[in-house]
Structure formats: C-alpha cells, structure tokens
Point group: C2
Chain length 286, copies 2
C-alpha cells in the first residue's frame, strides 16, 4: 500500500494510528450507534460525530456514557440549521428545533452543533443569508447558557437551492466575524470547498480568528452520480486532502479528522469491510 | 400566464418578442440543425448557437447560408477548450482541435467560440488553470487571423473535477484581464454562476472591460437529479434570471439571451412542444 504522489508532494506527514480519526454515524448508517461505537473502538478510532437520528428513542446521557466507555470522544452533534423560510412561523419552528439540538449536544457532551444553514427556493440568497445570520444570533444565548458552540458549515454551491446559502469559506468567515461570539465558528469540509481558489487564504483567516472548529474529509468522485449520496472515500477522487489538511494544521487546528461520507454504494456494503476501507483511506490518502 | 413576483420585483422589462432569443442546437438535440432552424425561424427567434456535433457531415458554408436564409444570427460556436492534460501530447491534441473549432467558427460566421476550459483529475487546479491560460494564449494568433474571438465560460464548481478549473466569474475576469486581448472575453451562464455572492460586482467588472461576450440562461431545479443533464426551463427553478439579466444589461450587454438546456427529460419530449415551453419561459421568466 503506497501513498499517492499527489498527497506526498506536500510533505504533510501521514497518520500512523487512528487516534485523530473521527467517524460520523451517518457514514456507517446501517449500524446503530451502539454497534458503530463497538466497531470504531476496536480499531482504536478516537472520535465519533453523532447525527441526531442516531439518538432517536435513546436516553442521551446513557448513550454518551456508552461512547465514553468505548474511549470515543464526542466530536460534534450533526446537525442544526435550516434557518431560512418564507414565513416567520417556519423560521420560529427552525429556531425551536435548533434549541433542542443544543440541548441534545449538552446532554451528549458534544462541544458544538454543526449548522447546515439552509436556503429556500423562491427566496433570494441575500434574504436567506440575512435569515441565517439572524437565526444564529437568536440562538446565541441558549448556546452560551449550555456551553455548546455553533459551527457554520459552508456547503458546496450545488446545494445553494435548498440546503445552504453559505457556499464559500469566505462567506462563513464573514458571518462568523460579524456575529463575533466565542460560541460561533466554522466546520470546514473538503467536499464542499476543495474547488475554491481562495481556500488556502480563507483557511488561514478562519484559524487566525479562532473560528476553525472542525475538519471533515471524504473525496469527490469522477463521475459523481448523485448530488447528495455519492461521496467518495479518501483517495478515490480528485481532492488533495493532504494539502488541505496541511493548510488547516498551519492555521492552528489540531482536532479530529472527521470522515463524513454519504454514499448509497457504501451503505449497501458490509459495514465492517467499509470501515477497513475508511481506515486505509485515512492512513494513505488523508 | 403571469410573470413571477420574483422576476417582476426587479423591474427589468419582460421581453415582448423573440428577436433577442437565441437557442443552442443542443437544447433541441433530437432535431437536426436544418429542422431546428426551420422551427426557430417560424417563431421569429433571432439567433442560434451551434454545437459542433450539429455540423457533422455537413458543408459548413452551406449550413451557414441555410441559417441566414432562415433569418437566424449565428451567435456562437460551442465549444472549444479542455486544455489541461497530464501529458504535453494531450495538450497539443487539444490545441489542434481548438484551432479546428476556430476554423469552423470562421466558416460558419460565428463571432466567437465558447471555451469549456477543462480540468484533469489527478492534477492540481492551480496547474490546470496555468495550462488553460497557456492554451488560450497559444490560440490567440489563430483566433486573430480568423477574426474569431474566444469566450471563457466559467463553470459551476460541481464541474471542477473534469470539465473546468475556472469556476467563478472572478477567476474568468482575472484570466481575461491577464490575457489582455481583444480576442478573449467571457460567456456568462446563470446556471453556473447564480449562487456567487460576488456575481453582481463581477458582472459589472466584466462589462466595463469589454469582456462580456455572451449570456446563457436556463434554471436550477430542486431537486436536480443529474449533474449534467437535468437543467430546468426558465421559471422552473430558483434562479432569478431577470435580476441577473438586469446586471448584465447594466454592464452594457445588449446581445442575445441564449437558452442552453441539457435535459434528458426535455430531449425525450416532442421538441415542437418543448420549443413552445421555451418561448413561454423566455417571455415570462427571463
């Protein structure tokens, strides 16, 4: 097994163990969280990011204890957001749900909630961006009271119709700086941002401001067959993950490398075999 | 039939006839170019943009005459580009093919060739961008000798893997300014650029520099089921085409509004019925 020349050319050292690897529960979605925890833990994987659906019908404090019993750090809760709506009533429902997400993160012991900020077809992106900013501002007292931070995740421009009106790291940086709170930062995902010619510069800016809360990895496949659920495993696509990681680390980030893969193809596989592929991709292409 | 509130809110006047409408041959792909010309012309449509596959096995000068006999202006030839390749031999083949595209445009009487600039998985976007710039520079003497201009078309970031490393209008403006030739400008397509928070500013910059050669319209559907061939008809999606048109016209553009739709769904329909839908979308949502 060899490291790709592309990755090696940036001189960032490869990982030698899985202590800084975190996996999102959605990545191995066929597994219940208890099964995922058991498998991650056996491999010495250090972290888990929990999607809210994985907590359904569970006592969150007990689940938190179970994760810690497996030596897993809870890295984030996914996800809140979806602030923009045409009607004020819809925006209020979104705020209430975000407050519940903050409560769940506090119970689980997750340091932050990742925000997929939302967008609404039929409403201008300018208006959606304003509603996002106002929504996050409205959440801040509850976030602060619970000691839970909020991580704005800029999403790929192909999701600007209905998932996020925040589509570049530059925009996320602008918003985090405007909100200017120790409870608002940013989650950087290579899948969404790899194409951006300003990425290196904006990562440095994000780190300098203390806003770099999280780093998500996966790969962009050619061809990509589905806009949502055809993400690639590290090494399977065209993203120079190691180069982007070098920028993130140069910006002062030393947290987990979170594998977040939505893939109809991988969800259909045996998840234990898929986990081995994740581990290989992490060591050799991240 | 009513105009959408979103479009009306910007006060740009709606079109009243089809004299400034241009259709790309690929939009009605099931029609041979002769049949397309007949149908477009009957509706009083003023322009046609010709894809190279529509010219296969034809005498280009005779086809040009046929289009003009139908009172159709030839707006552009689509397409050249695809400059980046890992090997120099591949880049040379691309240059040769681009010179043929320039020859075809000259024979057809098309004022410019649209460039889908290209990208190569496994090569950095930085290197691909350099190869694009060098490729266009290498073409300039041939373009100038033939009186054919080159229009850089920035493509949506979801095509950064293998179709174009030029993904924002800002990048295209940078490149056109660097190349600094009366034979290099830009084609603006709402599908690729609608999400960009800097779009209005960059359109103004593009126009001020005399680089705004072409304006393409269609719509972004929610959901989009295919990355390539699921574009929407004007009015069917979330793009505020009329607002973007107001920016383009404020930047001094008074050329054709080119409908370029790749759609498995519409290609499967009766094309005469589809043409009526295009005309309706043009009048009411563009």
């Amino acid at each position: 097994m060899s490291t790709t020349p592309l990755a090696e050319s940036f001189g960032e050292p490869a990982f030698r163990d899985f202590s800084r690897l975190c996996i999102h529960t959605i990545t191995t979605r066929p597994w219940a969280i208890e099964e995922a925890a058991k498998h991650y833990s056996r491999s010495g994987i250090g972290g888990i990011s929990v999607w809210r659906d994985a907590l359904a019908n569970r006592n969150i404090r007990e689940t938190s204890q179970l994760l810690r019993d497996h030596n897993l750090s809870v890295v984030s809760l996914c996800r809140g957001g979806f602030f923009p709506h045409l009607e004020a009533a819809g925006r209020q429902i979104a705020l209430d749900d975000n407050r519940r997400a903050i409560d769940e993160a506090a119970e689980l012991g997750a340091p932050h909630v990742v925000l997929v900020c939302g967008a609404t077809p039929g409403q201008s992106l300018t208006e959606s961006r304003k509603q996002i900013r106002d929504g996050i501002a409205a959440l801040l007292p509850h976030a602060e009271a619970n000691g839970v931070r909020l991580a704005i995740e800029p999403l790929h421009p192909m999701y600007a119709d209905n998932r996020s009106a925040i589509n570049t790291l530059g925009q996320a940086n602008d918003m985090a700086e405007e909100l200017n709170s120790p409870y608002v930062g940013i989650a950087i995902d290579v899948y969404h941002l790899w194409w951006d010619p300003d990425l290196e510069k904006e990562i440095a800016r994000c780190g300098k401001n203390g806003h770099l809360y999280a780093f998500h990895i996966c790969d962009w496949k050619t061809p990509t067959l589905d806009l949502l659920n055809d993400r690639g495993l590290m090494g399977e696509g065209c993203i120079n993950i190691r180069q982007i990681r070098s920028w993130v680390e140069a910006a002062g980030f030393s947290g987990f490398n979170e594998v977040e893969i939505f893939s109809n193809r991988y969800w259909a596989e045996d998840q234990a075999e898929f986990l081995e592929k994740i581990k290989h991709g992490y060591l050799h292409h991240s």
